[in-house]
């Protein structure tokens, strides 16, 4: 009878982490070299060879460890067939890898952090990690897109009933119109596909989000949710343990909420779903999940909408004044 491997999906964490740390160091070194010389310097060849060897060593740890990288890294990295001859493209690739590696390190090499109770991530059975139900093509595109002109996008992945996050679709629309931001609203219920889970990454909602981020140089994703269990007139903010947004942008949001007498908590119950986790890996993109109390009256809702409008305007203002990286 085969030995049970239910308790550990991965090689002992220290082994994996050792390689990941080395990888992180080397990716940083390559990035530094490229930043200094603005070209691919021959001196990075040795470091690159080390990176390749590290990756080979990691793949030897266990078969399933490869899927681990699929969970943390960006799908576009794997799908892109363009060679990275352009220096900007190369830097972008390295920063994305760097961001993902930081998250692996922060999660102590465990996938538990990602493994939400209702998510389906199976590393031992990679074939079922990402799948769709029959009739998938009939469900495309499954979202509504409202184009904008500013580098901000509001997403409402659970806007469609049943068990929808009430008013998030309308809120996204309202705020997007007032701020000329983009908005992406899911039109299929989460019971068919939940765009805020790893499984949702292959669905059009998430693919188009990734495309919009690229094409429109989006810098801020505001992922809107609502919860009936939340306190009235309050917002629960998820920043994926602080990894998904810069502190100064978070402070900007907190200031606007305080000015409008809206109470908030940060990373308490909701740390952020897969949208916040995954899309914030892209260089210069901040992502934030807002869980707004569901039982809002119209007045309270407008107050929250007003705060979001204010926040986006400040965010754009700071950007215009060159205050953003």
């Amino acid at each position: 009878m085969p030995r049970s491997n239910t308790t550990r999906d991965f090689p002992s964490n220290w082994k994996l982490l050792k390689h990941i740390l080395a990888l992180y160091r080397d990716v940083n070194l390559v990035l530094r070299e490229i930043n200094e010389s603005h070209s691919i310097n021959p001196s990075v060849a040795t470091i690159l060879m080390r990176i390749i060897n590290q990756l080979r060593a990691i793949s030897m740890l266990r078969e399933t460890v490869s899927m681990y990288f699929l969970a943390y890294l960006h799908l576009n990295i794997f799908l892109s067939e363009d060679s990275l001859r352009d220096i900007q493209q190369l830097k972008r690739f390295l920063v994305t890898v760097q961001n993902a590696l930081e998250k692996i390190i922060a999660s102590n090499g465990k996938l538990m952090v990602l493994h939400r109770k209702d998510a389906t991530i199976s590393l031992r059975h990679s074939a079922v990690s990402l799948f769709v139900p029959d009739g998938f093509d009939a469900l495309i595109p499954s979202y509504k897109y409202i184009p904008g002109t500013t580098p901000v996008i509001l997403t409402a992945p659970h806007a469609a009933p049943p068990q929808s996050d009430t008013f998030t679709g309308r809120l996204a629309l309202l705020v997007a119109k007032r701020t000329s931001s983009h908005a992406l609203i899911s039109t299929i219920p989460r019971f068919i596909s939940d765009p805020n889970r790893m499984l949702g990454r292959i669905w059009p909602f998430r693919r188009i989000l990734e495309k919009l981020i690229d094409e429109n140089k989006i810098r801020l994703i505001i992922d809107l949710h609502s919860s009936n269990n939340a306190k009235e007139n309050s917002v629960e903010i998820g920043t994926w343990y602080g990894f998904s947004i810069l502190r100064k942008h978070l402070n900007m949001l907190l200031d606007t909420l305080e000015e409008n007498n809206i109470t908030y908590t940060i990373n308490s119950r909701f740390t952020g779903g897969d949208i916040t986790f995954y899309h914030s890996n892209i260089p210069f993109v901040s992502a934030i999940q807002l869980e707004i109390s569901g039982g809002q009256d119209r007045k309270s809702l407008l107050k929250i909408a007003h705060s979001l409008v204010e926040f986006i305007r400040r965010f754009n203002g700071v950007r215009k004044n060159g205050g953003i990286r």
Partner: protein, 490 residues
């Protein structure tokens, strides 16, 4: 025994874990929806709470948001089927109103890797009519006799052969992969000293243990030295050393059987409880005759064989000689027949002939449209370069369709599953019968359906792709080094 079997009050409690799924058969976190619907029904008096209370002890969503746990009241043994039918019918209505379906099985054929896992727990209480509670000796004897037949009972009830879209190689994947259930040991009754700490104060204790003057000597039924509750088979109640049961009512004394995979029909569920009643009565008869229940040799090995091969297993007899599991199961059924007859119980399903559900209805049929691709996916090689065999349509992320011809494409391959099932009622799925897998490829621009005659040119794991990307950067660095060398050389 014929007379004496009727001298007992035999009651059965059932804890049935179910799964909420959507209309395509996939898991959805909708257990709270069903529970809230039931609460609404009670509050709005749409359902008479006193009627519901006759059947149900409680309903909970746990531990997975798609798991629905139903706990029944203790039933008199002849009412199990009728009462469970009432509960299922009520759940069917509740699910229908919320556009949700309920799946009765232990493991989802796709979304199980291995969690969430469901089981059926049967609690049996046999109380002499002149007494109020199940005596300690009954607890120990019933436990030990069920434990003695553990391999046979597992072989007869194993019903979870598919996991993560594949045959797992186990008749009961649930028991093999369960992290919760542990085997129990032979039950003994031990006089032990107990330090009584009131339940409400236990959580406040700063110390691992304390000595108080409040000590008692009690006879406890012990199957696990540290009083663990989550065993495959456990005597329960205040006469055991289970910490959680310390303050429970003596009337709750029972033997809890947790190793049973969910049956897909009520008839099978009823027969399983009847077989357990028969085994329990045999135990009590042995107690009456002052016979000791033997501690079976090779129990652990036979248990594993039953989990793996089910009724097709080959057990090891007392002397190590091989015995076919079915023969062993039929032996058990013959031995308990006497007791079942005395209660007027007839086994209605194939279990009486030693044919488990998994054999009667067959395993779900797994069909893959393209075995080669499935093989790559199983190896974690999800990024494939494919030569399309015919003209194809690319569906972009906005839903636009474009003819792309029979070209070579590269991307992430993922399966599309179509599930077929049989139903208990309109909104209750009893078992999955067929899993059909076809495949899509996600390219940078959109989705393309893969056909069985398309040819895989190359396949890579995510690390493989990453290594390739870094390899191309390495080549660039090498190229620039070469240019510098040439320049200096010139």
């Amino acid at each position: 025994m014929e007379e004496s079997a009727r001298d007992f009050r035999i009651r059965v409690g059932i804890e049935n874990e179910l799964m909420t799924v959507n209309d395509k058969g996939f898991i959805i976190p909708a257990a709270t929806l069903i529970v809230n619907k039931i609460i609404d029904d009670i509050v709005s008096k749409k359902v008479d709470a006193s009627v519901l209370n006759k059947y149900l002890y409680g309903i909970q969503w746990e531990p997975h948001p798609a798991q629905l746990e139903i706990v029944t009241q203790p039933f008199n043994y002849p009412n199990v089927e009728k009462n469970m039918r009432f509960i299922y019918d009520y759940l069917d209505n509740a699910a229908g109103e919320k556009n949700v379906k309920i799946y009765l099985g232990s493991m989802h054929p796709i979304q199980s890797s291995p969690f969430p896992i469901n089981g059926t727990h049967v609690s049996i209480s046999i109380v002499p009519k002149r007494r109020k509670v199940m005596p300690r000796k009954f607890l120990a004897y019933v436990h030990n006799n069920i434990r003695r037949y553990l391999p046979e009972l597992i072989a007869l009830t194993a019903n979870s052969p598919v996991m993560a879209s594949k045959y797992s190689g186990f008749a009961s994947s649930r028991l093999y992969y369960s992290r919760v259930l542990k085997p129990s040991r032979y039950a003994i009754i031990k006089r032990s000293k107990t330090t009584v700490i009131p339940r409400e104060k236990r959580a406040l204790l700063k110390y691992a243990f304390i000595f108080t003057r409040d000590k008692r000597y009690e006879n406890k039924v012990i199957v696990n030295q540290i009083g663990m509750r989550l065993l495959e088979l456990t005597p329960r109640g205040p006469h055991t050393n289970i910490v959680e049961d310390h303050d429970s009512s003596p009337e709750s004394s029972r033997v809890e059987v947790r190793f049973i995979d969910n049956p897909s029909t009520l008839e099978y569920l009823t027969d399983i409880t009847n077989i357990l009643i028969g085994v329990s009565l045999e135990a009590i008869d042995m107690l009456r005759k002052n016979e000791k229940i033997p501690n079976r040799a090779f129990l652990s090995e036979n248990r594993l064989r039953a989990i793996r091969d089910g009724i097709q297993a080959e057990f090891l007899g007392e002397d190590g000689e091989p015995i076919p599991a079915r023969e062993s199961v039929l032996g058990m059924i013959n031995r308990i027949k006497l007791y079942l007859d005395s209660l007027g119980i007839k086994l209605k399903t194939s279990l009486g002939d030693g044919i488990p559900e998994i054999e009667k209805f067959g395993k779900p049929v797994i069909v893959s449209e393209c075995e080669t691709i499935q093989e790559y996916l199983n190896q974690g090689k999800v990024f494939l370069r494919i030569q399309l065999s015919s003209n194809r349509t690319l569906i972009d992320f906005s839903g636009n369709r474009e003819a792309i011809g029979a070209r070579v494409i590269y991307g992430l391959v993922f399966p599309e599953y179509k599930l077929e099932w049989t139903t208990y009622s309109r909104n209750i799925i009893s078992r999955f019968t067929r899993i059909y897998t076809s495949y899509w490829i996600l390219t940078k621009r959109g989705y393309v359906k893969i056909h069985p005659d398309d040819k895989v040119i190359s396949a890579k794991t995510p690390i493989g792709v990453l290594t390739q990307v870094f390899g191309s950067i390495y080549n660039l660095a090498k190229e620039s080094q070469q240019k510098i060398t040439e320049y200096i050389g010139d």
